[in-house]
């Protein structure tokens, strides 16, 4: 589909799910500004919804309604509230590590990771989602690239190091450890795939989880 061209039969292909990801995005971009194509797509969507309604209907789990409600009422830009604390913590953490880096290679590596994380967050679009509440009062969130190419896990009020795990297909893959600098712990994770569920772990115990959307 070239720029400015109406979507035509791509409307029906979109509605039935027969388009690849990139064609789907092209259709979405076009209909956002084209009323005629929006109407045609809406009619194709009516047809698919009628087909779905004619199939077996199941009640969703009650927990899903709570998750949807929590998502809707989560304050926008939640991460921005953490920014001053994180910035202060990073300054406090990075300056000493710069001074002692020759003596402490581990700390220097952490500093580089922190710098990379700051660079990512500052220079690229990103999303942010909160982890579930932790019993010790600390609050955690994860910022991540919309394409799943990087993640920054932050724990505010951290009193100890927490492991970060990717929960998938009934398995748990350990990704690294968020170690406190001041009262903020951070872990930067450059990755090549989208992770939908992350967990914070204290030893073998899951203390918080986050659902990531793309």
């Amino acid at each position: 589909m070239s720029s400015g061209e109406h979507i035509g039969e791509l409307a029906e292909l979109y509605a039935i799910g027969a388009l690849g990801e990139s064609e789907r995005r092209d259709v979405e971009r076009h209909v956002a500004g084209c009323t005629a194509c929006g109407q045609r797509l809406g009619e194709a969507e009516d047809d698919v919804a009628a087909m779905e309604a004619a199939r077996l209907q199941r009640d969703p789990p009650e927990q899903l309604q709570r998750r949807v409600r929590a998502m809707l009422h989560r304050p926008a830009g939640q991460w921005s509230r953490y920014a001053p604390a994180v910035a202060a913590a990073l300054i406090l953490g990075l300056l000493p590590s710069a001074f002692f880096w020759e003596q402490n290679r581990t700390m220097h590596a952490a500093m580089e990771a922190d710098s990379a994380a700051i660079g990512r967050v500052a220079s690229t679009p990103h999303r942010s989602v909160a982890f579930s509440q932790m019993s010790d009062g600390s609050a955690a969130s994860v910022m991540y690239g919309p394409d799943g190419s990087w993640y920054v896990v932050l724990v505010r009020g951290a009193s100890r190091a927490l492991s970060v795990a990717w929960m998938h297909d009934g398995q748990r893959t350990m990704l690294g450890t968020a170690t406190p600098h001041g009262d903020v712990a951070m872990l930067y994770l450059p990755k090549s795939h989208r992770m939908n569920q992350l967990a914070l772990m204290d030893g073998d115990r899951v203390v918080a989880q986050a659902q990531l959307a793309y």
């Binding site: 039969e9 292909l13 039935i16 799910g17 690849g20 929006g38 004619a54 199941r58 009640d59 569920q197």
Partner: protein, 187 residues
């Protein structure tokens, strides 16, 4: 009469304006349909719930995903959830399991004991009335989540022909499900 979730419903205004109450109301009204749509593609409860949540979150965070020109919120969300579910099945890890499950789809479809049996029979009848050259690509897209390029390769038919047959088939099916209205026609 105002169709629930239709373009004249106040819900559509609230939804277009991304009002939290409208999203909550949409979930309250259409939650079972959305969840069932995801479940029909993914085949398990946990993935279906995640899929509905993530699809709603994507719409919620997008400033221009829904406009009233698009029509019924119910239909819009159903397709959003279905496309999200199909994206997930296309990831390599789930592909094998999906194929195995979908291989059993005709049997499961025949054995459906819940839902609206009249609607179900109408869908089955409408599908069976389509000419094979339209019903076959439509079934591959709808039940197996295949892309039009995959279907064209599988049926050894030009891509443009497959696109047209899927589009025509869907319009006829929709017309049959809308009580015998003629299919909408587009030049």
């Amino acid at each position: 009469m105002i169709e629930p979730g239709g373009v004249d419903d106040p819900l559509a205004d609230g939804f277009a304006a991304r009002e939290p109450w409208a999203f909550e109301e949409a979930y309250r009204r259409f939650g079972p349909l959305l969840y069932s749509t995801a479940y029909n593609v993914l085949g398990n409860a946990e993935d279906a719930a995640d899929c509905v949540h993530d699809a709603l979150a994507r719409v919620w965070r997008s400033s221009n995903a829904y406009t009233k020109a698009r029509g019924a919120v119910r239909s819009f969300l159903t397709v959003c959830v279905r496309n999200e579910a199909i994206s997930r099945t296309r990831s390599q890890a789930r592909r094998t399991r999906l194929s195995e499950r979908l291989a059993a789809e005709p049997q499961e479809y025949e054995e459906l004991g819940a839902g609206d049996p009249i609607e179900r029979d109408r869908l089955r009848a409408a599908l069976s009335r389509l000419p094979p050259e339209q019903s076959e690509p439509l079934r591959l897209a709808y039940f197996q989540g295949k892309t039009h390029t995959e279907i064209a390769a599988e049926l050894e038919t030009p891509l443009g022909t497959i696109k047209s047959r899927i589009a025509q088939g869907l319009r006829k099916l929709g017309a049959a499900l809308r009580d015998g209205e003629g299919p909408r026609r587009y030049e």
